[in-house]
Structures are given as structure tokens and as C-alpha cells.
């Protein structure tokens, strides 16, 4: 049974859900569900059969157990800022978790916090700030996205270059499995014994269940920070600077690249950061750690940039300027609306050494398909985010954009890269899974999913192409 042929919600289900969460928190009418048809990638939209929004842990458990009893599929959703269509609920129940916003505890001495899944990423860092702590993973959408969503997508962010992604900052979580069981994954007090189910759950894109609470590690604020802005007259030069810095053994906290069109969009916005609008590319490089030696490292980074052809390198003079430089970078995706009425954003990773060649290839693809590409990405990780603005009312332009995206993804895979760095597979990357993984590998993914959700009711139709699982189950002998 595919998602689209599932039975639509009936009045009985509506009443039973309302008995748990209250009438106001069950949405059934077209006008109420419209905004929940999309996540942060509104090119895709799908109408849920019903939307249910529990406000407490107990309500969440009761809702999921009711859905289990009825055998109904559901799609978890946080703040709806995802960029792979992962929270689309086509004809099934949408389970919104953004109301679970309690920061249950902050343990400053042991540097950890226990939070509900709807806590906004930046709100957690704000709450930890009085203790000199912060939550390190900082996706660009951090002012809006939730910790639960971060766990589902194994979210990254500029600073994961040095500090690692969500996986490296979650110690334990309480998971509500699709069958209604509540299980503890990981160990808040230290190493976890047995199989690393926590690692399997993080990044499972809502297919293994939902998190009821998450114990995260809080990082101590670094003693010193230096934020450099290097200004280049070509993307290629900037890409070579990245390679040189990494090759020299310097590990910046973050190393981000933005190209000319992106810079201009940001500088036209309320988040104007003072980037040079005539630059073909900028690198935003942050060094942090002990105060001793940081200026020497900053000087070396600046020297590598100049050697690669930077027109200028400047350092943020105070925390306010540093914050401004980062705000500009983090809001760049949102600023794309200034360029075109519609937008797709890609998320591909290539080995860092391939960055210059890949940027050239993206430019070639853009020219071939006559599309407008804006590059804003995590250069230090080789994690590219080509944004393509277009007019979705034009079938011709839409087709060209789609073809260009596919060509870029294939080029990344051919260069030894992968199809997502941090946005997840969702539905947007599904078509590329076969080109990246062997049938046996995809089959192993299906088998793992069966452990958590044998009925495949949680976020159906995402991540692993349906046919992979079907083939896997149809031919058990092929497994040996």
C-alpha cells in the first residue's frame, strides 16, 4: 500500500485524537492543513489527512499508541524547516511536535541538558549561555529549527567542521517507537553498552519513531575566537585557499564560502553584514580555542588566503561584528527569495580536494541548463549547497532546474562524494539513493528499519526507495 492510497482520516479518528490533545490541536480542514503541506522546501507539498499536535510527553505517547492500535502511518514534524521534504505527510497523519518546548534541566557541571524535542536549537544555547556553555551544532536555521528535527536529520552547521554533527552531541534519548513502546537509547552518564542504537536512531529521519526527550552535551564557550573574512575575485581562488588551510593542518571551527550572487542577496537584506558586494566569493573562517597561539594561527590563515589570491582579509573587531558576519551567512538561504520567486537548494558533499573542480562543474552545468546557481556552503567539509532560484510557473525553467540538479548530484557522486551532507534524504534525494548504494546496502537499511518499525508506519516512503525494501523482502535467498 502506498501512502497516497491510505484511507483518509475519519470523524472517529478525529474525535479520538481530540480526546487526547484537545479539539484545537487536531486539524482536518484544507484551510488549516495548508501550511503543514510543506517543510522548508515548498516546491514539494503534500496534504496530510489530519494534523495532530500534542502538547506533552504523555499526549504524544497516547497519540502514537492510538495510531499503532489503528495501524495508521504518521509523519513526525518539528518546526518544518527541513530541506529535503522529509516532513511531508501525503494522505497520512501529521504528528507535529513543535509544542514540546520544555528545557527540562541544564546540568552545568556535567555540561549537559535534557530537553524536549520541540526546543528550538538557538533557544537551548540561549538558556545555556549564563553558564558559559552552548549547544555546538548550529544549523543555519538554528533560530527556528528544533532539537527533535536536528536528531532526525543528524543536523550539522558551520561549526561542525571542528565540533562534529548532532550525533556527536547527543548522549542519550528516550524514543517512542512507532508501536508505542518507550525505550532509552544511549546513556546520559557515559559510554553506552551494547549495540549503538542511539547512533542508528540519530539521522533516521523520523522512520524509527520520535524522540520524547534528548540529553545533549553542552560545549564550553571557547576562551578565544577569531573570525576572518577573506575576499576573493574568483570562486576557484577561494576553493584553493580552503585546500591550503586544511592541508597545513589547521582545523578552523568553521570555514564557509559564499559566492557573489549570494553576497548581494544578503547585503540587500536586513542581515547585511558588510560583505564586499563586488567579490566573486568570500570565505568566512573562524578559529577558536585557547587564547595562546590563536593570533598566530589567524595570521597563517590570512597568509594562505592572500597566497591563494585574496584581495583582502579582515578580522571581526568585536563580538557584535562577529555576530553580524555569522548572521549574514546563516540567513543567506532565506535571502534567496530576493533573487527568484521559487527556490531549490541542494546538499551534496565532495572530498575537499575536489572542491575547485566541482565548483567549476557546477558553473558549467548552470551554463548548460541556463539556470541561476547561488553557492553558499560549508567549504571546510566539502559540503556544497547550490541554491537554484527559478520561476515555478514556467514548466520549461522548472524542467531545466530539475535536470541541472540531477547533473550536479551525479557529478558529486562521480567525484567520490555523496548526495546529502546534512539535509537528509527525505523525498528530494530518493532518486539518487540507487546510484550511491548497492541493493545489498539498501537492503541492510530496510532490515534495520524493521527493527524499529516493522510495520513501516513512521514517515512512510522516505529515505530508502520503496522498491529496495520490496526486493529485499521478496528474495530472502539473495541475502546470503
Amino acid at each position: 500500500m502506498t501512502a497516497s492510497t491510505l484511507p483518509h482520516a475519519d470523524a472517529a479518528l478525529q474525535a479520538r485524537l481530540a480526546a487526547i490533545v484537545g479539539e484545537r490541536r487536531v486539524l482536518v480542514r484544507a484551510g488549516e492543513l495548508r501550511t503543514y503541506e510543506s517543510d522548508g522546501l515548498p516546491g514539494y507539498h503534500a496534504r496530510p489527512s489530519i494534523g495532530v499536535f500534542p502538547g506533552t510527553r504523555d499526549e504524544t505517547i497516547a497519540v502514537v499508541r492510538l495510531l499503532a492500535e489503528l495501524g495508521m502511518p504518521f509523519v513526525p514534524r518539528g518546526a518544518g524547516t527541513g530541506l529535503s521534504g522529509g516532513a511531508l505527510a501525503e494522505g497520512v497523519v501529521l504528528l507535529g511536535l513543535h509544542r514540546l518546548t520544555r528545557i527540562i534541566s541544564i546540568d552545568a557541571e556535567d555540561q549537559r541538558a535534557l530537553v524536549e524535542p520541540g526546543v528550538v536549537n538557538a533557544a537551548l544555547s540561549r538558556a545555556a549561555a549564563p553558564f558559559g556553555l552552548h549547544y555546538a551544532p548550529d544549523p543555519s536555521s538554528q533560530t527556528a529549527c528544533t532539537i527533535g528535527g536536528n536528531v532526525a536529520e543528524n543536523a550539522g552547521g558551520p561549526h561542525c567542521l571542528k565540533y562534529g554533527v548532532t550525533l556527536n552531541h547527543v548522549l542519550a534519548l528516550t524514543a517512542l517507537l512507532p508501536n508505542g513502546d518507550v525505550v532509552t537509547l544511549g546513556n546520559a552518564d557515559g559510554e553506552c553498552e551494547g549495540y549503538d542504537l542511539l547512533g542508528a536512531f540519530i539521522g533516521s529521519e523520523g522512520c524509527f519513531g520520535v524522540a520524547l526527550d534528548v540529553t545533549v552535551r553542552l560545549a564550553r564557550n571557547p576562551q578565544a575566537v577569531r573570525t576572518l573574512l577573506a575576499d576573493f575575485s574568483s570562486l576557484d581562488a577561494a576553493a584553493h585557499a580552503v585546500s591550503a588551510i586544511v592541508a597545513a593542518g589547521i582545523v578552523p571551527a568553521a570555514m564557509e564560502m559564499m559566492d557573489g550572487p549570494t553576497i548581494q542577496a544578503v547585503e540587500a537584506s536586513i542581515y547585511a553584514a558588510g560583505y564586499p558586494v563586488d567579490a566573486a566569493a568570500i570565505l568566512l573562517i573562524e578559529l577558536d580555542g585557547a587564547a595562546a597561539g590563536i593570533d598566530a594561527d589567524a595570521d597563517r590563515v590570512a597568509a594562505f588566503c592572500r597566497e591563494a589570491g585574496a584581495r583582502g582579509v579582515r578580522t571581526a573587531s568585536d563580538p557584535a561584528e562577529r555576530a553580524r558576519l555569522w548572521q549574514g551567512r546563516k540567513k543567506a538561504f532565506g535571502a534567496m527569495g530576493r533573487i527568484s520567486p521559487h527556490l531549490v537548494v541542494q546538499d551534496a558533499v565532495v572530498p575537499r580536494t575536489k572542491l575547485p573542480a566541482m565548483l567549476a562543474e557546477i558553473a558549467r552545468v548552470a551554463a548548460e541548463y541556463r539556470v541561476k546557481v547561488c553557492n553558499v556552503f560549508h567549504a571546510g567539509d566539502g559540503n556544497l549547497h547550490p541554491n537554484i532560484g527559478y520561476d515555478a510557473t514556467s514548466p520549461d525553467e522548472s524542467a531545466r532546474v530539475h535536470a541541472a540538479m540531477a547533473a550536479i548530484m551525479q557529478a558529486c557522486v562521480a567525484a567520490g562524494g555523496t548526495i546529502t551532507g546534512e539535509h537528509g534524504v527525505g523525498i528530494d534525494k530518493l532518486p539518487y539513493m540507487d546510484s550511491l548504494f548497492s541493493p545489498a546496502t539498501l537492503g541492510a537499511m530496510c532490515a534495520l528499519r524493521d527493527v524499529f518499525d516493522p510495520a513501516r508506519r513512521a514517515n512512510p516512503g522516505k529515505v530508502v526507495p520503496m522498491h529496495s525494501c520490496r526486493e529485499w523482502h521478496a528474495a530472502p535467498s539473495a541475502r546470503s
Partner: protein, 433 residues
């Protein structure tokens, strides 16, 4: 599995409506969600339909015809918007949300009019004689302490009486005559409806404080309501009529600046050009007039302002949305307060969030308004300041009424009142020495 990007039809289901004209603004939204946490109704009601992104989705649905203009849910969520425009200062794409909201309301109210109480208020504000009578009644109720008595009544009527009660002057000051060398040019005050009706001492304080900072004050006859309440409520034609009357009146004034001490009115007048964009005969005049409009804090900050006498008082500051988000003026009011020696400014958590006043919103959406006000009052209480400064009559009355009904002794006050009191104290000290 999607084999290609979905395309969307390039059609408009509601041609010729204000919303269809605003379509480019809708298209600027990329659905990133960065506005969510800036939106007071989203934070309060926890439904994305009550967020800027959700409302823009509904607007788009009206334009493409996938939802009808008489859809009840669309109306509910559009009505529930405070119009605080905090989303505009969070939006990287520069979506002109306030404009979209007004265009949507203008489109929807043609299908189904506003509730009677809203229409009654708009009717009164558009008629100067009637409005003067209403304000007189208010002052009598205040002078006879009727408002204090009636403010104990439950519900909206009691709240409205508490609003009235809260307009009692919060500062005591001696009279003084400001020096006036007029070195900074001339200014004329938009006296305003509620400001002149219930906050007349603040208007006089505004004139004195500006005089004391080198502005020669002149009066402008024939001015009317700025039209902001009408524009926000979807009565765009009513707003345009009032704007034309004001443009004609203020064109007769030769003053360099049209100074406004009500943030909501100032924001409206600065947008007269946009309001009359479709009116060939008036557009240019409107834009020219708008360029002369300044908030009082802007003019004062430009002049320093000149420091006054000591006023040892603890004050917290709440930013009016139409000053911070619509006019993008964050620091000038703080500079006004900083010119008062002895005044200790205590930061207010969430000062960038709306108080729930939002024009006449607190009278027509009382439940949501109360829920938005609650955290504001709690944050004010946490500062332990006996005064909260804010430069807009709606906010002064909303916060003032909330404080009054909660039995708190803290008073809401216009920043200019504090500066004026400081100048008065200085004059008294000079006379005494």
C-alpha cells in the same frame, strides 16, 4: 518518488483585488521559517497557521484559488495577526509582511465585513467632531474616577476602562519655559486622536522637549486621524481618504519635519507613499510628505538630546512594534532616556515582542491579546522598575491597563514625558539656586 519539480499554475483567482496586486511580496517568501520564533501569535498559540509563514501560505492559496476568499479558517488566522511586523525584522528575503496583511484584510473585508465594534471604532476615528466628543467623554470618566471604578468590571468593557484609567499622567512636573534657538529647523506635531484626546500633557511635553533641543514648533490646522487603524483593519479606502486630508493639511505647513510621538501613526505616515501608490494624483505628494515625517525620538536623538536635570528613577523600556519593526528605530528612544541624569535603565526581557495592543486588536481579539500581554507583564514585573517607557499610545494603554488590572504599581510612561520632567527639574533647580 518525484521525477520532476512540480510546476505551479500562473493564474490569479482574485484579479483586481489588493492581494493580487501584492503578489510579488508573497513570492519573496521562501518558506525558510526564520520568522516563526519572532511571531507573538505563533509563540502564544503554537499553530503555524498563526505564524507569518503560515499566513503567507494562506494568502498564496487565496491568490491561486486553492482556498476561497470566504474560507473561515483563512479569515480566523488573518484576523488573529497582530500586525506587529516583528517578522519583517527577522525576514532575510524582505517580505513586506505588513503590506501583505493589509492587502489581505482589504480583500477579505470586501467579502465579509469586520465585526460591528471594529466598524464603530473606525467610523468614529474618521469623524473629528464625533471623536472629540468620545475623547471628552473619556476625560470626564477619568476625571470623575468612573474609569477607576468601572475598570474592576470583568471582560472587555472593564479592560477598556482600565485603559482609560491608565492614561492618567504618570509623571509630575513643574512648569518651565524651554529655550528655543530654532537652530535645528522647524517641526510641526501630528497631534493625533488618542494622543491629543487622552495624552494631551504628553503632546505638550513633546513640544517643550523639541523646543528645548533647538526645533521651532509650529501648529498645523486641519489634520485628521492618520488612518493607521483603518489600513490595518482592511479599510484601505478609509485610510486613503484620511491620508489625503493629512497630506493637504501638512502641505500647508512649511515645517521641515512632521513630528509624531505615536509610533503607529508615524509608521503609517511614513508609508503614505505606498498607501497611495495607485493614485496618480496623490502618489508623489504622498511620498514627498512621508519623507518629512519623523518620530519624536529621531529628532531628539539627532540633537543629542540635551541632558536635563536629575531624575533618580528606575525605568525599563518596551519597544513599540511600529517603532522597532515598522520604522526600524531601535536606539533613538534609548538615547532619549539616556539624556536623563540619574535615570537607571533596566533591560526588559522580550522588549522586542508585541504587547498585544495592536491598534484595536485588544478590543476585537481579547483572548489572544490577553495571552500576548501576560508574558510582557511578567517580564516588566521581573525588572522591579516602577516605570516602563514606551512611545505609542496603544502600548501605553495596553500595558498600563494590564498593570492596573494586575494591581501592579508600575506605570507606563512615554519616554518624552521623562525627558520633559528632567528638563523641568533642571529649570526648577536653576530657579532655586
Amino acid at each position: 518518488m518525484k521525477s520532476s519539480l512540480p510546476t505551479i499554475p500562473d493564474t490569479c483567482a482574485i484579479p483586481g483585488t489588493p492581494l493580487s496586486d501584492a503578489r510579488a511580496g508573497i513570492d519573496a517568501c521562501v518558506h525558510c521559517g526564520f520568522c516563526l520564533q519572532a511571531c507573538p501569535t505563533y509563540l502564544t498559540l503554537e499553530d503555524e497557521n498563526d505564524s507569518p509563514r503560515g499566513r503567507i501560505v494562506l494568502m498564496r492559496a487565496l491568490v491561486d484559488g486553492s482556498l476561497p476568499v470566504d474560507d473561515g479558517d483563512v479569515r480566523t488566522h488573518i484576523d488573529r495577526c497582530l500586525g506587529c511586523r516583528a517578522c519583517e525584522t527577522a525576514c532575510p528575503s524582505g517580505v513586506p509582511y505588513g503590506h501583505l496583511l493589509e492587502a489581505t484584510r482589504a480583500t477579505l473585508t470586501r467579502v465579509k465585513p469586520n465585526p460591528p465594534v471594529a466598524r464603530l471604532i473606525l467610523f468614529a476615528f474618521a469623524r473629528p467632531a464625533l471623536l472629540r466628543l468620545v475623547m471628552l467623554g473619556g476625560r470626564i470618566a477619568r476625571a470623575t474616577r468612573m474609569s477607576r471604578l468601572l475598570s474592576r468590571l470583568p471582560g472587555r468593557f472593564g479592560f477598556a476602562m482600565a485603559m482609560l484609567e491608565s492614561t492618567r499622567s504618570a509623571v509630575k512636573r513643574a512648569r518651565y519655559v524651554p529655550r528655543s534657538d530654532a537652530e535645528r529647523g522647524t517641526a510641526t506635531l501630528l497631534t493625533g486622536c488618542v494622543m491629543e484626546g487622552l495624552f494631551a500633557p504628553t503632546n505638550r511635553a513633546t513640544e517643550r522637549a523639541l523646543s528645548a533641543n533647538g526645533y521651532a514648533m509650529t501648529a498645523t490646522a486641519g489634520q485628521r486621524c492618520c488612518g493607521a487603524l483603518h489600513a490595518h483593519a482592511g479599510d484601505d479606502e478609509g485610510a486613503r481618504q484620511l491620508a489625503r486630508a493629512n497630506i493637504a493639511a501638512f502641505e500647508r505647513s512649511r515645517a521641515d519635519y512632521i513630528v509624531v510621538n505615536a509610533a503607529g501613526c508615524g509608521a503609517m505616515m511614513k508609508e503614505y507613499g505606498q498607501l497611495l501608490a495607485g493614485d496618480a494624483a496623490w502618489h508623489e505628494r504622498a511620498a514627498k510628505l512621508a519623507s518629512r515625517v519623523r518620530d519624536v525620538s529621531e529628532l531628539l536623538a539627532e540633537a543629542g538630546p540635551r541632558p536635563g536635570g536629575a531624575l533618580p528613577v528606575k525605568v525599563t523600556y518596551d519597544a513599540p512594534c511600529h517603532l522597532l519593526h515598522a520604522q526600524r528605530l531601535a536606539t533613538p528612544p534609548l538615547r532619549v532616556l539616556a539624556a536623563v541624569p540619574g535615570l537607571e535603565l533596566v533591560p526588559l526581557d522580550g522588549s522586542e515582542h508585541c504587547c498585544g495592543s495592536a491598534g484595536i486588536y485588544n478590543l476585537i481579539e481579547p483572548d489572544v491579546s490577553d495571552r500576548v500581554l501576560a508574558p510582557k507583564l511578567a517580564n516588566i514585573a521581573a525588572t522591579r522598575a516602577p516605570m516602563v517607557a514606551t512611545g505609542n499610545p496603544g502600548c501605553l494603554m495596553q500595558i498600563g491597563a494590564g498593570l492596573h488590572r494586575a494591581g501592579m504599581t508600575c506605570r507606563a510612561v512615554h519616554p518624552v514625558d521623562l525627558l520633559d520632567a528632567s528638563y523641568a527639574a533642571q529649570a526648577a533647580a536653576e530657579r532655586g539656586s
